[in-house]
Amino acid sequence: MNIKEILKTMDYGTAPESQTAANEWLKQSPFGHFINNKWVKGDNHFDSINPATGKKLAQISQADNVVVNKAVKAAEQAAPKWQALSGHERAKYLYALARLIQKNSRILSVLETLDNGKPIRESRDIDIPLAARHFYHHAGWAQLLDSELPDHKALGVVGQVIPWNFPMLMMAWKIAPAIATGNTVVLKPAEQTSLTALYFAELCQQANLPEGVVNIVTGDGRVGEAIVNHKDIQKIAFTGSTAVGRKIREATAGSGKKLSLELGGKSAFIVCEDADLDAAVEGVVDAIWFNQGEVCCAGSRLLIQESVAERFEQKLQERMTKLRIGDPLDKSTDVGAIVNKEQHQKITEMVNTGVKQGARILQAPCELPKAGYFYPPTLLADVAPGDLVVQEEIFGPVLVGMTYRTPAEAVDLANNSRYGLAATIWSENINLALHLAPQMQAGVVWINCANQFDAAAGFGGVKESGFGREGGFEGLFEYLKPSDFSAKKSAQKANKASGESIATDAMDRTAKMYIGGKQVRPDGGYSYPVLNAKGTTITQAGLGNRKDVRNAVEAAANAKQWSKMTAYQRQQVMYFIAENLSLRTDEFIDRLKDFGHSPGAAKKEVEQSIERLNYYAAWCDKFDGRVHAVPMRAVAMAMHEPIGVIGIACPAENPLLSFVSLMAPALAMGNRVVMLADEAFPLPALDLYQVINTSDVPAGTVNILSGRHEDMLKTLAGHLNLDALWYFGDQAGATLVEQESALNLKRTWTHTEAKDWTSVKARGKTFLRHSVEVKNIWTPYGE
């Protein structure tokens, strides 16, 4: 085309980024694995495909167990020295890696685009700079760790499995915090997109990172499985699908491995009638047509207020005509290739199903390249909440649209999902926006922006979008363990009821359970004897069953009032509980003497329990969030929100103190609780309901069950409306809890060793952290 012709068409022409340097580097193919800073020859090679052309880029090796073992061994051997380095020394390595990523940013961008199919603009302007940013940010945390988080230690060897949608960026999200906090790493990139990880391995060599600190093994899910199941790995960090995340939760159940899961999403994108509609349209582009929609937090469920729905759709449709789909290496491409044939097929099938179920389909009228896996930007309008395309993640450039009438309805529709990763709100009314944001069941909320990420702000989900945070101060805890407060072995006491269960007689001497603010008899009508330290039956306790669990969770789920109260109001109530407990000190001392405490020990336990209630009452209005310093003109609030309903299976030690030590932090942060009282000696816990009942605690906030933990635990752990479960007991129970929790991916916190509840370490921020979700709310400002 000559200039005169161009003047008629005013086309952009082509502007391809050069791939010469990347091709040169790819000549090393076939690739091996990176262990101990050396390349280990691999075998069982498979092809890495460029999804934009369908052509082979390189050959990647499938690691076997021998390779994985070798990598774990290397990481294990490197761990003590790495952890022993000063924060400043570790920071220097992270800083060097950040610099090296920047220095090699162009080849990394090109490799990423070749391998994944994403537009070069995105890999160049977003993925790679953000990857460097994560290393810079965490270099800082390495430096500050000693002063900011004393009493915390690295975990050891961390296994990390990452997805194909942001290969380099996800690797940075995983590796930077892990090594900053003194852990060593075995990382597996996705088999579709291993190239930038392999290039990064070379940067680790150039940075003279100590051998074994970062190890990279390649291959498909079988390699991931080997990592997940490896006995010498202390933590698994996974980003990927909810289905795989659930499997990992099951596989690691009872292993003692720490786990963080960043899974799927079906995030709401709410457009209020007072929004800047043109800005919101660009928000949609950033939300669902960024990275071909292959984004876990993609705003994929559009909720438009009815009064502006027609106008918004018209604007959106017009905007779609301007999107350029094609060669990802072309600098003018907006939407690149879908990562592979399978994903392309899955998107196609889901959209077809959506249309069959009645969706009205609008697609960008663009010509797609003949080779490669391209899918046009798509809007499925007029869908219903029950449609497959509304419920399931499509992981492609497909948006589903519904309308709503009132803000309350927007909240209902937004939260009508098993997922809870992100939400986006567009409104020019600060009252409305900040009314909606806290109500979103999501780990991240973007107000008047979409898909904003930064190393200083935590990222992660609630509900079935997984647990744990990546980035920010809150993300550090995924790679650290607080100092322990385990009791000496001799203190271990069996937490099992003895004696046969008996039918409740008419002359009731049964200590009742407490559900929904009422004393209740066990549903099954059975009770069991409670023995004192001498083995004499002193009374009977209700034998809770699955229906009691059901009733307690339901009562707690409905008791939303506690979570809505201000921290100050909760504080008043908690002081009141402490005050009322202190009035009944003598009674509780007697109970604890039955338990076998000496009079002195009994008195001390009651006093400590009162102290602990006061301690957490004090924290109510002090364990607040942060405002993160993200690099834009915005307030990024990391808000501490209650998790919701927490189940707590209490330990055998210190039956009053341990109960209070667990209930109080959960209550202080606004959660409602379902407490399984100590099995063998539930009496102090059951007595406590009288205290709670007279302390202005709203009904259903605290529910106390007695009975055999093994009868109730499975129901509790498998309850889909329970948000978290803390478990103190034996190994079998911990395994069961973690296994059953996989169903709705509830947060678990399990302990199989007896604890020293009298220790000052048996209280504090660790308990509070387990009682909150950190929600990051991004609000750009400026007029």
Binding site: I3, I6, M10, D274, A275, D276
Partner: protein, 320 residues
């Protein structure tokens, strides 16, 4: 090029509800503006073509207190021959009648410019209504427009009364512009908002809509005399209003960013923004102009580089 195919915007009744509901989110607008340059890349022959296009869209301007007739004649000569003939030949457009879109001067220079441009298609624009502050008596402003039209201007660049915006007195702004439009007759009306003084994008958006409702043919950012002139966020805000006005009424209104656009690269970003946000029709002089004086020089240098492969120097191109 398409000439006179655009139906002139006759204006509409003022719709205060519509105006009061206009929203403009500054941060989001800035974010979109910041990625515009990165989302589209125009290279090689395409870049050359786009720069040639840009020349045809320039309102070559001199608005200085020390302007003289000779200076204005020189400017008009440049408008008629904005690019060296040897470069045109090398670019394959030797036979093309390439001129700037218009010449823009003060009323005092109209006669000179009118004469100098005789026999060409180049429009002659006069800044008016007490430019740049716009605080002369209203009747004098109207008289000034009429005088300029009589003196040969076929485009009138008026400044709006900024206080109407700050008072949110949209009726007053509407009435004022409506009168200017009537005074223009067949001459096209460009309303300068002086966006650098309007403080917020919301004000810019609302003032844009009022001017269009009152019958503006173009909305224009700046006089070039404010401390902040044309910017991408302001431009996005204004052209989004143009789009809404089109949806609302079916009439196409032109856009003229003025002041501060002096680099060829910036011109490309502006053009791609118009193409993306409004479409190819806004790449024609009927609906888009650059108000600029030094932009042309940079484009000439870039085009010489495109032809020869050597970075150019200003003295190799005739000054205007």
């Amino acid at each position: 090029m398409t000439q006179n195919q655009i139906t002139r915007n006759p204006g509409t009744e003022i719709n205060l509800d519509w105006i009061n509901n206009i929203q403009a989110n500054t941060s989001a607008t800035e974010r979109r503006a910041a990625t515009l340059g990165a989302r589209r890349s125009i290279k090689k022959d395409h870049q050359a073509a786009w720069l040639i296009k840009a020349i045809s869209l320039i309102d070559l301007t001199t608005l200085a207190g020390d302007d003289t007739e000779q200076r204005v004649r020189r400017l008009c000569a440049k408008a008629k021959n904005p690019l060296r003939q040897d470069l045109k030949e090398a670019l394959g457009i030797g036979d093309m009648n390439l001129t700037t879109g218009a010449v823009c001067v003060y009323h005092d220079m109209l006669a000179t410019a009118h004469k100098a441009l005789e026999g060409t298609d180049i429009h002659l624009a006069a800044v008016s209504t007490g430019f740049p502050a716009g605080l002369t008596p209203h009747e004098l402003k109207v008289a000034e427009i009429k005088a300029s039209v009589k003196a040969g201007a076929d485009e009138i660049d008026v400044v709006i009364t900024r206080k109407h915006v700050f008072k949110q007195d949209w009726q007053a702004l509407y009435d004022e512009v409506r009168e200017y439009r009537e005074a223009c007759g067949d001459a096209h009306l460009k309303t300068i908002l002086a966006t650098g003084e309007l403080a917020t994008l919301r004000n810019v958006a609302k003032a844009s809509m009022v001017c269009m409702m009152a019958g503006a043919d173009f909305i224009k950012t700046s006089t070039g005399k404010e401390s902040v002139n044309a910017t991408l966020p302001v431009s996005l805000t204004m052209i989004r209003q143009i789009r809404d006005y089109l949806h609302l009424t079916g009439y196409k209104v032109g856009y003229k960013p003025a002041g501060g656009i002096s680099k060829a690269k910036d011109a490309l970003v502006y053009l791609s923004m118009m193409k993306e946000e409004l479409g190819d029709e806004w790449l024609e002089p009927e609906l888009f102009r650059f108000g600029a004086s030094s932009l042309l020089g940079d484009i000439e240098r870039q085009l010489e580089h495109h032809v020869t492969g050597h970075y150019s120097a200003a003295h190799r191109h005739a000054i205007g």
